[in-house]
């Protein structure tokens, strides 16, 4: 092994494990920023009459002299919360972390196919983070047109101040982010295809690898389309083109743009935007498969159906995007087609839930914090998935579109689910990352406060949505129709603050355990997969000697007659000890 100094080991590292940690810690920092932004707007929604003057030292002009949050700043908060959570936390923080950590370790490779590209991928993400972070502090405020940045709002600084410098930085940051994501994805795909160890056939891969593999494929196909949309938007904003703009009269002036279509942008955006949902969903589901099967001490039920359903999701995810656009004014015939496709994609998702339930059935379940988070994830998958059946049905979506019903739906099935997948992964693979165990009881506290908290925050929003309350509203008092949920809003805000507070338990546990946690043993969860065959603190290159050969599939738990309740993948049949019974 080559010599490593501080910089090559901790900063410009090409070791996939170090890059995974870099992604994870950057992701955690972003999650806190994103979470704090949501607390700010929850304060506004829950306690609209209270003075927020005490926030003036922090937010300056965004708090008016009477202590009110500026409505444009409210929109900026919502926009940045969405952007940060979807891209920086749940895409980079989740799939960046676990693709890097798990792919080489679980397929039996010394590192990624290209360590250098991998490093480049992280540093592009870091640059993108810096740009987005700077945009929070500029005078006109960060982008404020919603995380979907629909033009013309996002293209015209006359329409909202955030569409000036803030939006420019948003576009620069997203461009860097997409480059990072593509560099990563290409590397993950190449590594999975080419660097599997001897005996590791595709159908012996753990489901986590399958999920990360499919995620990378989706990312490679979908992200360039967003890049195209972003570049065209840049042209409209700066070069006077009219891809998305037409017939606009704003601020006392008729603009010259003609012939463009805002709906075109929506198509391009959601062609990434919907697969993006699966980019954040699939890794979480893959992690859950690992955690559930390990802790239920039982092979995953229906391995091949699980792979096939993930494959089906991957393919169909490219044919459902316009269900975000049922009332955008597009041809109603398209609405019918996309309703059909959307309800089809619910089938593989349902199959996955049933397989998880069947895996638990007659298991012997150990409730580690990781396992609890995985179970919580399945619960969110059910709750949030089912409301998708309402929203995917075009005729019901007419009423529910852009109401709090949508907010509730995607925060459970995309936000909560992926966040829980990330947490399950962190608790489960912490010993692999840092050679120490996380504190179990703190993990329990963290889980229960978060699990109950997420339900208390997001479940009530369904009722508001059925009641017709539109999302992205700074206040509900202007409409008699929407003003009936004052108590519910207060309740949700309190629940959100407590849930956010509970995350400090995690942060404490994470950093404390990193240095002071109990030292891990080689295979603390008695798991079958290859990553636990490395030394407790694997060096650059992962295995000191030869890479183990694989003799069996990933899930030989509780094999009848074997004397242990798990047989790791690298144990050949003849070495399996048969119990006396």
């Amino acid at each position: 092994m080559h010599q490593e100094n501080f910089i090559t080991k901790y900063i410009f590292s090409t070791d996939h494990k170090m890059i995974a940690k870099q992604y994870l810690i950057t992701g955690i920092i972003w999650a806190f920023i994103g979470g704090m932004l949501s607390i700010l707007f929850r304060l506004q929604l829950g306690f609209p009459k209270e003075s927020l003057l005490w926030l003036k030292p922090l937010l300056g002009n965004w708090i008016s002299s009477t202590g009110k949050l500026d409505p444009e700043f409210y929109l900026a908060l919502v926009t940045m919360h969405g952007t940060i959570m979807v891209f920086f936390v749940l895409t980079a923080g989740l799939s960046g972390t676990f693709s890097n950590l798990l792919i080489p370790l679980q397929i039996g490779a010394r590192d990624m196919a290209s360590g250098f590209l991998n490093m480049l991928s992280y540093w592009f993400f870091f640059l993108s983070s810096i740009v987005m972070f700077i945009s929070l502090f500029i005078g006109t405020g960060p982008a404020g047109g919603g995380w979907t940045v629909y033009p013309p709002l996002s293209a015209l600084p006359q329409a909202i101040a955030g569409s000036g410098m803030g939006m420019t930085l948003w576009l620069v940051s997203m461009t860097l982010f997409i480059i990072s994501s593509l560099l990563g994805s290409i590397n993950y795909i190449t590594t999975v295809i080419n660097l599997r160890t001897k005996g590791m056939s595709f159908f012996r891969l753990p489901l986590s690898i399958w999920s990360l593999f499919f995620t990378a494929i989706i990312g490679t196909i979908a992200f360039p389309v967003l890049l195209a949309a972003a570049l065209l938007l840049v042209c409209d904003r700066s070069l006077g083109t009219s891809f998305f703009l037409s017939d606009i009269y704003i601020a006392g002036e008729a603009l010259v743009h003609q012939g463009g279509s805002p709906v075109l942008f929506q198509h391009l955006f959601w062609f990434l935007g919907h697969p993006e949902v699966y980019i954040v969903l699939l890794p979480a589901l893959g992690i859950t498969s690992e955690v559930i099967t390990t802790n239920a001490r039982k092979p995953i039920f229906g391995y091949k159906p699980m792979v096939i359903s993930m494959f089906a999701i991957t393919v169909i995810s490219f044919g459902v995007w316009a269900h975000h656009m049922f009332v955008s004014g597009m041809n109603p015939f398209l609405g019918a087609v996309f309703t059909f496709m959307t309800l089809i994609i619910a089938v593989p998702s349902a199959v996955k839930v049933f397989n998880y339930l069947a895996t638990l059935w007659r298991g012997n379940i150990i409730f580690t914090p990781a396992m609890l988070f995985a179970l919580g994830l399945v619960s969110f998958f059910i709750s949030g998935g089912l409301t998708g059946i309402f929203l995917g049905n075009s005729s019901l979506d007419i009423q529910l579109h852009d109401t709090y019903f949508v907010v509730a739906h995607f925060h459970l099935v995309m936000g909560g689910l992926s966040f829980f997948g990330m947490m399950a992964g962190v608790y489960h693979w912490f010993p692999k990352m840092f050679g120490r165990m996380m504190h179990q009881k703190l993990g329990y506290w963290h889980f229960w406060l978060t699990f109950v908290g997420v339900y208390l925050v997001f479940f009530p929003l369904h009722y508001m949505g059925i009641g017709g309350v539109p999302r992205r509203y700074y206040a509900f008092t202007n409409f008699d129709t929407f003003s009936g949920f004052v108590d519910l809003n207060i309740f949700v805000s309190i629940a959100a603050i407590v849930t956010m507070g509970a995350q400090f338990i995690f942060v404490f546990n994470f950093f404390y355990s990193m240095f002071r946690g109990q030292t891990a043993v080689k295979n603390p969860w008695r798991s079958t997969t290859l990553e636990w065959t490395t030394p407790v603190k694997p060096m650059h290159g992962n295995w000191p000697g030869v890479i183990p050969t694989v003799y069996r599939w990933s899930y030989d738990y509780s094999v009848p007659h074997a004397d242990t309740d798990f047989i790791p993948q690298h144990i050949p049949d003849k070495k399996v000890k048969i119990s006396a019974q």
Binding site: N364, V378, S395, L442
Partner: protein, 344 residues
Amino acid sequence: MFKIALIIIIGALVLVASVLLFKLLQLLQKKKSPPKNNNNQQASLLLSFLIIGLAIFFWYSYTRFSQYTLPVASVHGVLMDRLFWITTVVTGIVFITTQTLLFFFSHKYRFQQKKKATYHTGNLTLEIFWTIIPTLVLTVLMFFGLKLWNTITQPPKESIKNTTVIEIVGQQFSWKARYPGKSKKLGAYDYRLIDPVNELGIDFNDENSFDNFVSNVLYLPKGKPVLFKIRSKDVLHSVYLPHFRVKMDAVPGMPTRFWFIPNKSTEDMRESLQNKNFNFELACAEICGRGHFSMKMIVKVLEPEAYETWVQSQKSFLYKNPTYLKKVPVHLQTKAKKKAGILH
């Protein structure tokens, strides 16, 4: 209220902080507490979560029913609500069954020292079964959904003839409605003709524009089909009438439309809700800038006769702003004055 909330929050945070502090001290002292059976405890917690959670869900859904259900005031809205509740029942059954199984299995199959998990790797029959069942259920829901979608988006030909056409225009941050006059025809428009008075850019080269009038309140006839022609002057907006189950984006450069039949008048609603101040409202449902949350238009649904009377009593745009007669081509001046109600 704020103070109570603040006290609760601070209380909760203090609780969390003290637990953390306690743990920290415990960890620093390296005092090992005797190993307890955490596993059974967690299993019981999961089961209690299910029971308490479902109890709260049912209690809230039942007792607050009237608070979160919006009265419906359009023909297709009734059908839409029916489909909504059918979907709620179907998904509700699945929700309760699967959540129960999830937490019940977690509890029942918790770790026991002497037991060993069953080695099941899968079952093709089961997989086929739970692929086909959701497919069938979803197909049925989709069938009803698409049928309704057709009803909403493709109005019957015979009712198109006597449809009242109204143009709704969104701008930062208000709505305007333009009505055709006696000729029942909306005139042309062009965004380049917009000025502070002619806010909608009405084109007076078109004789259909002469009797058009603009209103800040949206009046609709009860029981008569209405066609909204929707456009936007600046950014995206979305015409949203919650009680009528109507939503359609307003897109600059691309007119959109929505056809429906209101079937309850404002008076009907005031009576049935016993609320004399009730009004239908039109809201914006697409983020459009700082005033997005206040983009309101009052909607009044009148009995057809009252609606006709209201239409007759409205003065045309040209009548109110005679300076715009200058924009009318010379050979149409007299016609314009007549249609606009300036000359009789």
